[in-house]
Symmetry: C2
Subunit: 308 residues, 2 copies
């Protein structure tokens, strides 16, 4: 029976002018807080090192590239990796990745408790758009600045637990959890940066957006009998509000811990991974109950086809 | 813009000794109530015509077959079809289907407002087991008495709305909604009979089971931008409790109407189907956002493969 105290390190806002070093110092403070509570894994948000830059239209790719990391760890993040190693805490966080051959991804990495990177995920479900859109309240240019992830949905056995990663908008797609569930996932870590306002429906309101985030995280957990940690960057970044609402969910879909602020805030949950077994062996025993012969459209057809 | 008042006709318990005619009389009473409220579609539960007989182990298939319908409509149900036609109300309900060539399915049909059957669905995700299980608090022999549905997940344009059907346990599987969503579904009707007690974990409790039902129905609605009606048979059937909790959900995942009792009870919701368009054209614009090249496991692999 594997149990682990998981920490979600919600980050408050990071402004354009803030340096990586400033952010990493905040991440280390949360890491130390987590270690003091006995946590052995800390989950940070998507694009943890910078402001959520896809809200800004940048025609100049030299400027765009200033938001990307060319290696990981690097000078700015090495103190985080070193402190995590010294404390014996595994970490996962997101960052914008620029590969040596010039590809741009919205990436997250997972380390073991020795500070070694054991897993990498590149965001598959990129939301938003790829050209400046004058009809939006603000821009959401993830499809401009990133390529869709090319690594697929993978899991890693880390500290005895089968872990998978996803990023932000991935959490709204049941395909994400199912691809991981089919690999026996026991913990899905999902960092996010979600505007508190819908750029295409400003009347929507933050409460509805929090509900949709929770609904997706909870359903993904229940329907795959896995723990899920959804961890936000939150608060007002250069005048643009991000919602918080970081939660850790158990394999029943129940919320074990929830962030109350929109600032740097640590939440923790004691996760007993043996609790994944009941759902995986009964109502969600995939081998007995799934009927793949009827699921063909899910992989053969990208968009809607109205045939009636 | 298509709007329609949808009624969910939750049914209270039906005992083994109750006749089809008695049940149909109750269904007609709910139909008339629905018509008086302006509803033009009534959604009834799974296996609406009988008690939930899969809880009983029957070694004799002649006895099993007494729970099945050989044609639809038939003598017992014709009054329902006729009254629905006269009132101009479309209906959908579930029943146990025995085909002329001897196949057994857990089936639902959909009619138009003229009382004509326009769609048929056979339950794909059969829960439970196929042999007597002495370790269960009670039996759930759907895998014994039914074959998995052979018709796939389909939609029909009925009274201007793209409708799809699913049955009971199908509602817990995101594949169900996605297969329908990829066909542009605007309303998914799902009848169910769900024991209020988990036969394999009696301590679970009804509240948790209601939560799981709602979570699945709400997530399916939101993630496919469709209305969903989940309608129960409820109450104490020959000493075995079924949970109620019938709900109608909008494309945002919000609950529009909820049954309060565990008896015959009508719930209604005014559904504006133009509300499906926003989600389908923005965050769940499948053509822009889905990445089928990474979903392969969903259709190539039935059960879990732990490879780490």
């Amino acid at each position: 029976m594997t149990t682990m105290t998981i920490a979600g390190a919600q980050l408050g806002p990071t402004q354009k002018a803030d340096s990586r070093e400033q952010v990493v110092a905040r991440m280390i403070a949360l890491l130390e807080q987590a270690a003091s509570k006995g946590a052995t894994l800390v989950v940070y948000p998507e694009l943890a090192l910078t402001t959520f830059f896809p809200r800004w239209y940048m025609p100049d790719w030299n400027e765009v590239d200033t938001w990307f990391e060319r290696e990981m760890p690097n000078g700015a993040t090495m103190p985080l990796f070193e402190r995590a190693r010294d404390l014996g805490v595994a970490i996962t966080f997101g960052y914008a990745e620029l590969t040596p051959d010039g590809h741009h991804f919205n990436t997250s990495i997972l380390t073991n408790r020795k500070g070694e990177i054991v897993g990498k995920y590149r965001k598959i479900h990129l939301p938003g758009h790829d050209e400046y859109d004058p009809n939006r309240g603000f821009q959401h240019l993830e499809k401009r600045y990133f390529e869709p992830g090319d690594l697929g949905f993978n899991v890693w056995r880390n500290e005895g637990v089968i872990m998978g990663m996803a990023i932000c908008n991935d959490r709204r797609w049941p395909e994400t959890y199912r691809c991981l569930g089919l690999q026996g996932v026991e913990l899905v870590t999902i960092g996010y940066n979600t505007p508190a306002v819908n750029a295409e429906m400003s009347a929507e309101g933050k409460e509805k957006r929090l509900f949709h985030s929770e609904l997706s995280l909870q359903a993904g957990a229940y329907q795959n009998a896995t723990f899920v940690a959804g961890i936000a960057k939150a608060g007002m970044e250069d005048g643009h509000p991000l919602m918080g609402g970081s939660i850790i969910v158990d394999p029943d879909g129940f919320i074990l811990a929830r962030a109350e602020t929109e600032d740097d805030e640590l939440i923790t949950a004691d996760c007993d991974f043996s609790k994944c077994a009941f759902g995986k062996s009964t109502i969600f025993d995939f081998a007995r109950h799934r009927r793949i012969e009827h699921y063909g459209r899910i992989t053969s057809q990208t968009g809607v086809k109205v045939e009636v």
